[in-house]
Structure formats: structure tokens, C-alpha cells
């Protein structure tokens, strides 16, 4: 091993394999300049790790909270998952409406959202009434979800020319996979209308599609703003 082959950074970090470490030690024994360099870089590394830690000023949180008061409520996609099927329908409808009004912003609902205001299905209902109630809730939720998807698809389709062709191709492929999952879930639901698993599967697939389209719209917006860092991060997410 000569000086050009010497794995300096890994030697300083201590991440060499045992065999490489032995080879590096042999080189260092006969090479004072490399030995001096390793010692200096280890000194820098050790000193960096012991630099002072300061605390932010005590009033910084108050100043921040004053600024937050002027902010609209954050866009919430990370809502707590509901526990009951009735609550699912309410949540899905609300999520779809929220996405339309806050993210898409240009697709007003032509009719007010038929968000079921009833609580979780009452266990004293007759079986058929229960199924009817759940189906009505699911249809309402599905309808709202489809509207959200249509709105987002329209924007993504209109502006997709701004996307990198490679990212657009990956996105297209991902959407095809999600569409297939939606079709399969719909078929399963048709066979077993009361199956909670099939219902959950359908809404999960639709939720994924909305999220995917939403990311696409965010990406296009960041590219328009010239925010390369955020656009790069979103592209990485979309390309996974």
C-alpha cells in the first residue's frame, strides 16, 4: 500500500475491516507523513465532538408561538386512525374534502359534503339496517375520495410536462400499481360487500393514490418556486 492507496478517511473514522486495518497500520509504521495526517485528523474529529452546546434563549419559544398565531392550521395528513367503521367513513370523507379545499384549492365541491354525522354503528340495529348504513357511509366516502383523485389527477396531468421524464415514468408506474390495487379491492368488495377487510383495502389503496398525486402536485409547486432542495427530496420520495 502506498500513500495514494491509503484509506485515510476510513482510517480516521475507524471503519476499516480488520484486514484493511492491519494493512493500514503497516503503512503507517513506515510513513511518518501519513501517520501525522491521521493523528491530526483524529484530533480535529475529537475536538469537534466536544464543542460547546448552547441552549436557545428562553424567550425564543414565546416569539415562535407569537408567529404561529398568524399561521393557518397545519395541513394534516397524519391523522389518528379511527377505530370504528363509521368513524372511518367520516374520516375519509373529511380527508378528501380537506385535500380538495386546502391542497387542490381550485376544485370547489359542487355540493356540500355529505359527511355522516352519526356515531359508530349502533350494535342494536338489525343486521340488514347495519349493512345498509355502512354501505351508505362507504359510498359517501368513496365518492369524496374519487373527487379528490379526479382533482389531483387533473392538475398532475396538466402540469406533468414539467416533471423529469424519469420521475414521470416512475410515478406513472406507481399509479398503475395503485390503480390495480383499487380495481382488485373493488372486485373483492363486490363479492363480499360486508367484508371490513375488503373495505379497508379499497380505502387504503385510494388513500395511497391521493397521497401519490398530492406529492406530485407538491413537487410541481416546489419546482415552480425554484426550491431545488425540496423538489429533490420529493423526487426521491416519488422515485422510491
Amino acid at each position: 500500500m502506498n500513500c495514494h492507496e491509503f484509506p485515510l478517511a476510513d482510517c480516521v473514522d475507524g471503519t476499516l475491516s480488520p484486514a484493511d486495518e492491519r494493512a493500514a497500520e503497516r503503512h503507517l509504521e513506515g510513513c511518518p507523513p501519513c501517520r501525522a495526517l491521521v493523528a491530526d485528523l483524529r484530533t480535529v474529529r475529537a475536538a469537534a465532538f466536544t464543542l460547546d452546546r448552547r441552549q436557545p434563549p428562553a424567550d425564543l419559544l414565546d416569539r415562535l408561538q407569537a408567529r404561529l398565531k398568524a399561521e393557518p392550521a397545519p395541513r394534516s395528513r397524519v391523522l389518528a386512525w379511527p377505530n370504528t367503521r363509521g368513524a372511518w367513513a367520516v374520516w375519509l370523507a373529511a380527508a378528501a374534502t380537506l385535500m380538495l379545499s386546502t391542497i387542490v384549492g381550485v376544485m370547489p365541491l359542487s355540493r356540500s359534503a355529505r359527511v355522516p354525522s352519526t356515531p359508530a354503528p349502533n350494535t342494536t340495529l338489525e343486521g340488514s339496517a347495519l349493512v345498509d348504513s355502512v354501505e351508505a357511509d362507504l359510498q359517501a366516502a368513496e365518492s369524496h375520495y374519487e373527487r379528490a383523485i379526479q382533482g389531483l389527477e387533473q392538475i398532475a396531468k396538466t402540469d406533468s410536462g414539467e416533471l423529469d421524464p424519469q420521475v414521470a415514468a416512475v410515478l406513472q408506474k406507481n399509479l398503475q400499481v395503485v390503480d390495480q390495487a383499487i380495481d382488485e379491492s373493488r372486485a373483492a368488495l363486490k363479492t363480499e360487500p360486508a367484508s371490513s377487510r375488503a373495505q379497508d383495502g379499497l380505502f387504503e389503496a385510494m388513500r395511497t393514490k391521493v397521497a401519490l398525486l398530492q406529492q406530485t402536485v407538491e413537487l410541481i409547486n416546489e419546482m415552480r418556486k425554484g426550491n431545488q432542495a425540496e423538489a429533490g427530496r420529493l423526487m426521491q420520495d416519488l422515485s422510491r
Partner: protein
């Protein structure tokens, strides 16, 4: 050290906290601030090169976090997610400042400077003030990788995740930073 590969419990707690912030629950945002403001403050001080601007940057980072909390999916810890926001914002601000001042911005892929060979170590001890000044003098991208790895203790995989670069680039940037710091401190020794 925040981990980019959180355990199920940590991730679940992070997702829950993000959901509480998203739903506007009183105290949830303050909990996020108290968990992470200290470490992020130190990072912004060293990225900005001064405490006054660091306070503005830290506020900006938490405002951004508030606005974007809905995009947090729990695929990394909330700490790592915040670091990513913070570093992106700091680098944007520093690069735009450099552009305004007509300086050439650094790239993540610049080649390493050749180290100066010396027969004996030039650094026996390191004065912390000199070290802080040497860090201030690093180009932004190089400084970011060095601060995350050598000061904050993230692994190269985590640095790569936060900065959106490859692990190889992270290693190269940290190495380049150490060489530059050594060269600067060596002239004082």
C-alpha cells in the same frame, strides 16, 4: 443522537406527536420544540455563523415544520425529519446569501484538496475558538456534512439521508472539511 431508522415505538410516538400537532392540540407543538430545539439551535448557530441569525433560522425551521407536519410519514424519526428541514433551509439561505454577494457556491461533488505532507502532527491541542472559526470558514455543503457527522455524531448513512446525497459524498465532504480545518489550524500552530 437522533436515528433515521427509528424503532417501532419511537416511530409510533413520533407519528402520534405529528398527528397531535396536525390536529392543533395545545402543547403538542411545544413538546416538539422542547425535544429538538437545543440540538437544532447548535446546528443553526454553526451554519449561520452567529447566534442572532441562528435564532431567526431556528424559528423559520420550526415554522416550516408546523406548515409541513402533514407530510411527515414516520419513515424516519421526527428528529431526522427536522434536521432535513433545517439543513435544507440553512443551505438555501447561505447559498442565496453567497449568490447575492457574488461568491461561488460549493458543490457536494468538488474534489478533495490535497493534504500537505508533514513528518509530525501539527495539531497537539485544538483551541475551541479557533476550531469554531475554522468551521465558519468551510463552504456551506462541506460544513453541513462535517457538523452532522463530527459534531452531532450522525453516521454517514444518516448524513446522506438528511442532506439528500450518497454516503460516498458524505464521506468525501466530511474528509474535505477535516483537511481544510487542519490546514487552517495548522497555520496557527
Amino acid at each position: 443522537m437522533p436515528s433515521s431508522k427509528p424503532s417501532g415505538d419511537v416511530r409510533s410516538a413520533d407519528v402520534e406527536l405529528a398527528a397531535r400537532i396536525g390536529s392543533g392540540e395545545a402543547g403538542a407543538f411545544e413538546a416538539l420544540y422542547r425535544q429538538h430545539a437545543g440540538r437544532l439551535y447548535n446546528l443553526t448557530i454553526r451554519m449561520a455563523g452567529g447566534s442572532v441569525e441562528a435564532e431567526d433560522l431556528l424559528q423559520d425551521v420550526f415554522l416550516l415544520a408546523y406548515r409541513k407536519i402533514g407530510s411527515y410519514r414516520g419513515d424516519a424519526s421526527l428528529g431526522t425529519w427536522l434536521y432535513r428541514l433545517a439543513m435544507n433551509h440553512c443551505l438555501d439561505v447561505l447559498r442565496s446569501r453567497q449568490t447575492r454577494m457574488g461568491q461561488v457556491t460549493d458543490s457536494m461533488d468538488e474534489p478533495d484538496a490535497a493534504p500537505v505532507p508533514t513528518p509530525a502532527p501539527t495539531l497537539t491541542t485544538v483551541n475551541r475558538i479557533d476550531l469554531e472559526r475554522a468551521i465558519d470558514a468551510l463552504p456551506p455543503a462541506c460544513r453541513a456534512a462535517f457538523l452532522l457527522h463530527d459534531v452531532e455524531g450522525f453516521g454517514h448513512n444518516e448524513v446522506a439521508d438528511i442532506l439528500g446525497v450518497s454516503e460516498g459524498t458524505s464521506k468525501s465532504q466530511v474528509h474535505k472539511a477535516r483537511l481544510r480545518i487542519r490546514a487552517r489550524l495548522g497555520t496557527r500552530a
